[in-house]
Structures are given as structure tokens and as C-alpha cells.
Point group: C2
Chain length 385, copies 2
């Protein structure tokens, strides 16, 4: 790949124009085109396409738009829309985030091509934002419970130093972004339309807030409207950009389940938040845990542990309350139980109730008295706590 | 073991008296005594104990009560209390249910001794009740959600032909019993006190209803008050009588978690119902799933599948809604998406929007029209569904 630092402004501009053309000329994902660009480099790829010298499978991907797309126009329109194009030659490009989409894996997962370039709107650097990223996704028609939990995870992951990646949809996505914003953290929204399109309509303000503090990202040139299949295509970017994908509420068949399947296929851990079994919003999450696709998580710390497997053991130890009687030998505890149940009793009565030998009862009572568990009075022995 | 059918009434009575003495003379579990009885038979074991010829470890278990217990008295008192003694020699004894508590396993799990006999109050046969039994346990201070789910599982398991085993406590236990009763099913309550003791006080009516339709069972002779450690000792009977243990709501450290640990140690499957991550009542259940101790279950069918492993695969397939567009080839679906988004469009516009070659668009449109997905008008093509 061309080294960004060592090349002149003119070359940079040529690369941007070429990639703007390439990312706009085919409907993503365009695996043949992606492979063709990887083979010939962007400038030669454009040249071959325009001279109709590309192989037929590439031709099929670019035929419909070849005559209608201009890299220069897309770049100037995007500048007007407050967006910039980030390309793989740019040091800002998060190679690690998308590497799992390209290369050998593409063969196993058709349609998983790495993006050719990304349109970005926002103040943060795409590379910084993607470095320690966790995807938090879920149902649009979420419950109040789901939104609360998504906001908690968004906030908690931000506080723990992770970028929260999501899709800016209503419900879980929006709550996760808001949680991250509230914590002052980085958050990335991958859109299924242009980065200047307010979709969903009610999330215009949220998208501006994300751009102010993080980045809004898309494969689709500014102005592109959303289409149903674009949400599924976009989901692969969320799944690959997150080091893990947390699913908070998902129906049996849902976009979130699609993102989870993609993350799983890409080898990224899928983590699912449980909920009431009476809620259809949690059916997908419970199904993923039952099938072994997802690990159950209940809090930010569980997610952090899934990303740092050495710490995974500790989550198994549940916070347990400690009782003072825990320190007692089982026999002493049994005697103490009898005393608690009997109020005042003689050693003989205590032996029969507890089933402990009388000698043992006689030996244990003073020990328990010394430790402050029992007291002796004229009426007999009784428990003090 | 003596064959019940081939022995006379006198011998039966002697065996009952001997076991009544043995189950009352030591505080359960009494592993030394259980081993001693298994070795010598109940009548000889009683004789040796009364002549002070038992080994010291047995002596320690029986010393406190030896002089105060009479098998005859216990039997006549239990008859007055509406209870009967069921002994291992009786064909009603559920050997399979408790076998895991005895023998080699006792060595690995100290204190796991098989019961020497059981006091039973109720119309159902103990053997019948234990044959296809599932334990449903959980928090006393359950939430409304937890009680609802426990009643659903109790009802569902009953309807599926399972006996519901539990501990008759407030909260989850009570709801599980009630669900089974409402379905007209068998249910078994194992108590940590005598079968004639109304504990908890508010469950007197429930216990009578269980005895009317199923059985109330205890190792403790009628009249025995509950003691704290007896609940833990009793839990081993629930865990071993259930072919699986379903935990519905459990705190991090709880009686239900203890039953689950015991079931796990006995090699019985533990199944945990998830709940809101915001509820402390579900912390134990989520922890069991995370640690791998329990399998997550959301409905009766999941429990049935856990007990019939061959059917386990099917639960992974989630009920998914089917959409008519699912049948379409990805290209046709992409074209259909474009049409849905664009209202009325020409093949040219559709090619550019979808990124499909114009020739492909022209070929697909009539196909989609024939299948009823799109329609042609003077203004252009549009989607019909």
C-alpha cells in the first residue's frame, strides 16, 4: 500500500478521487471490485474500468453507475456536506478493524468484502475511534428495560476506555450511543445511508452529537438514501469494527441477530444480555446463549473480561455476603442453629435437638460463648446473634 | 435388600420400627450410620447400637438421642399426624432418585448420605411421584416476575407429565407447587421439618393441597421444628429427586444456589432461568450460566429437551417469521428494495440506485411483476408489497 507520509499532495488527491469513484461506482459490498482494486491499486483500477478493460465480474458490479459517477464531484459534494473520505492509504484507516473482512476470509464469507473507502463526518479520528471498539446493538422496538441496559453498557464501556460502535437506529443503538456520549467517550455510528442523511428522522440531533464527539461513518456517498439491504451490508462494518459485539435485546429474527451472526462468522466474540423470558425482545439473546453462539453478560465488567480472557475467571466468583457464623465448624454451626431455634436450653436438650454428642455440646458451648455467639443465664443457654 | 412382597407382616413391622428408630436417632445426614445400616441391615444395626456395639463414628452420631428415641412411638405419633414411614425395602421407595447419594459418591461428597427412611404425608405414592421428577427451586423473596415464571414452569412441566419437586418455601417454591397443582399434576414438597409442621406458617393450606394431590416428604420425624442447617441437608433430597434442577431467580448466595451446587455435584443437569440484569434476584442464575454450571432455559420445552438430549438440537432453531421476499434471489431482493424506496422509477434509475447492471434490471422486472412483487404504470415501476 502507498505510504501516505511519503507521497505528495497531488498523489494523495489522485488517490482520493480514485477511491471516491470506486466506492461510489458499485453497490457495496462489491467483492470482485474490491479484489480488483487490491490487485491493481485504485488509480489503475479506475483507468481499466473506464476503458472497459476490467474482467466481466467487475464489469457487472460497476456497469450501472460507471457513466454516472465522478470521484471529483463526490469529493466536493461531500466537503459541502461536512464529510471527508478516509482511504486505506491514510494512516487514519483502521486496518485491524476491517482486516477480517478481506483476504482468505472473503472466500468463506461471500459478500464480506473490506470497504474500498469510508465517508466520515465528525471530529474524532477514525483510527483512534476504532482502536478499542465494542459494538453494542439491538432491537429498534426496544423495551424501557433494554434501553436502560444499553445506556448503562454504553456509559460503562466508555468509562472503561472503549469506543462504542453502533448503528444509530432507534431503541438499543441510540441508547448505547447516548450512554457513551454522556460519559464523554468516543462513539462511532455506521450508517446505511449517506453520513449527511438524517436517518432515522428523529435522530438528527443524536447524529450531530455523535459527529461532535466521535464519528459518523458510511460506505455510501453523501446523499445516498437508506435501502433495506444496505442495513445488512452495513452490519458487517459494525461487526468487524467491534472487537466484540454486545447484543441487548433482539427478536428471534432481527438486524441485531444478523450483526451477531456476522460477528460470529468473523471470529469476533458475541455477548448477549439476558432479560425477562416473558419478553419477546429477549428471545434472540436467550437463543444465542442457548446455542452457544453468545456468552451471557450482565455488566460492563463481563464485556471487559471477554476481551481480556486472562481475567475471565474472576467473573465466576459471585459477590457473596459474608456471615460471621460462616467461620464456625459445621458442628458449632449446628449447635448455634439449635440455640437460635430454641431460645433457652440445657446442654442435654441441645444435644437431642442437634443430634450432637452431649460431650461435644458441653465442649462447644464455652467456645461459642467466648466468641460472642451464645450466652448463659439462669434459664439456660441462648444465642446472642 | 429384603423383598417386601415375600415377607410377613410381622417382619415388615419390625423393619419399620427399626428404620423409624434409625432415621430419628441421628441428625441427618448421618453418613457413618447410613453405611452401618447398609452393612448390617436395619434390625441388626439397631440391636448393635442399643448394645453399644457400634463403631465409635456411629456412636458419635447416635449418642445424644439413643436413649430418647423409640421406633414404635415415632410410628404411632406419625400415624396420628397422618404420616407414614416409607423405607428402602418398600417397593414404593424411589431407589433411582436417591441412588446418586449413596455408595462411591459419598466419598467424594461428604454428608451426601442416602436417607435411611422418609416420612411421607399424602395420597400419591412416593415412587410414582419421583419417577419423572424435575426440581424447581428459587428465591424466597422472589419478584412478581419470578413467581410468574415459576408457576408457568410448574404448570408446563406438569402438563408435560413431570412431577414438580420443590421445598414449599415462600416465593419460587410455592409458585412452582401451585403451578403443578393447577395443572392437576403430581408435586412433591421436601421439608426441613416434620411433615405435620406448617412451615412456613403461611403455607399450611398449600401443604395440605400438596398432600391431597401429591406428597409432602421429610427425613425428620413428625413434630421436628426446622433448623437452619436442615434446609441445606434437605436440599440434597430435592437435588437428587429431580432429574434436573430448574433455578428460577436466585441471589448470589442462596439456598437455591446451594441446591444447584448439590445437583451439579450429583451429576444432575442444572437449568437456570434468566431475568433482568437489573434484578438482584437473577444474579445467581446469570452467574450459573456464565460459569457453565447451568444451561439457560426460557420455557418448559427447554427443560424437556435437556432431559432428552436427542431433541436438544431443535431448541436452537428459533421461531422466525417468514417473509415472502425471502424467496427472492439477492439481486431480485436488492431491486425490490430499490423499488420500495423509490416509489416510481425507470429501469435506468433502478439500475443506478441498486447498482445492478441495466440488463439484469430489465430481466428481473418482469419476473418480479409475474410473482406479484412489482407493478408497471405509465409513471414507471413500483413495488406492490
Amino acid at each position: 500500500m502507498t505510504n501516505w507520509a511519503s507521497i505528495g499532495e497531488k498523489t494523495k488527491q489522485e488517490l482520493l478521487v480514485a477511491r471516491a469513484f470506486l466506492v461510489g461506482v458499485a453497490e457495496p459490498p462489491a467483492p470482485a471490485l474490491a479484489g480488483f482494486v487490491a490487485e491493481h491499486g485504485p488509480r489503475r483500477a479506475v483507468d481499466l474500468i473506464l476503458r472497459d478493460k476490467a474482467p466481466p465480474e467487475v464489469g457487472a458490479e460497476v456497469e450501472a453507475r460507471r457513466a454516472h459517477v465522478s470521484g471529483e464531484q463526490l469529493l466536493s459534494a461531500s466537503e459541502a456536506a461536512g464529510a471527508r473520505l478516509v482511504v486505506p492509504e491514510d494512516p487514519e484507516w483502521p486496518h485491524e478493524a476491517f482486516a477480517c473482512l478481506s483476504g482468505a476470509r472473503t472466500v468463506e464469507l461471500p459478500g464480506m468484502a473490506e470497504p474500498i473507502a469510508l465517508w466520515v463526518r465528525g471530529k474524532a479520528g477514525l483510527g483512534d475511534a476504532a482502536e478499542r471498539a465494542v459494538a453494542v446493538v439491538g432491537a429498534r422496538a426496544a423495551s424501557g428495560y433494554g434501553e436502560h441496559v444499553a445506556a448503562e453498557f454504553g456509559h460503562g464501556l466508555s468509562t472503561a476506555g472503549f469506543t462504542v460502535v453502533s448503528g444509530a437506529a432507534y431503541g438499543i443503538d441510540g441508547a448505547a450511543h447516548r450512554g457513551a456520549l454522556a460519559a464523554g467517550g468516543l462513539t462511532v455510528a455506521f450508517l446505511a445511508c449517506g453520513v449527511d442523511v438524517d436517518y432515522p428522522a428523529g435522530h438528527g440531533r443524536l447524529l450531530r452529537a455523535i459527529a461532535d464527539q466521535g464519528v459518523v461513518v458510511s460506505e455510501y456517498p453523501p446523499g445516498t438514501p437508506p435501502r433495506k439491504h444496505r442495513f445488512l451490508v452495513r452490519n458487517r462494518l459494525i461487526a468487524s469494527a467491534g472487537r466484540a459485539t454486545v447484543v441487548v435485546e433482539a427478536g428471534a429474527r432481527s438486524g441485531a441477530a444478523n450483526t451477531a451472526n456476522t460477528a460470529d462468522a468473523l471470529g469476533r466474540p458475541v455477548l448477549a444480555v439476558p432479560g425477562p423470558v416473558t419478553s419477546k425482545n429477549s428471545v434472540g439473546c436467550h437463543g444465542m446463549v442457548r446455542s452457544g453462539q453468545a456468552v451471557l453478560v450482565t455488566r460492563t465488567q463481563d464485556v471487559v473480561e471477554a476481551l481480556t480472557p486472562l481475567g475471565a475467571q474472576s467473573s465466576v466468583e459471585l459477590p457473596a455476603q459474608h456471615r460471621r457464623t460462616d467461620e464456625l465448624h459445621p458442628h458449632a454451626r449446628r449447635l448455634h442453629d439449635a440455640l437460635v431455634g430454641m431460645d433457652c436450653a440445657s446442654p442435654d436438650e441441645l444435644a437431642r435437638d442437634s443430634g450432637l454428642p452431649l460431650g461435644k455440646v458441653r465442649a462447644l458451648l464455652p467456645e461459642l460463648e467466648l466468641a460472642g455467639f451464645v450466652a448463659r443465664s439462669e434459664r439456660g443457654w441462648s444465642a446472642t446473634e
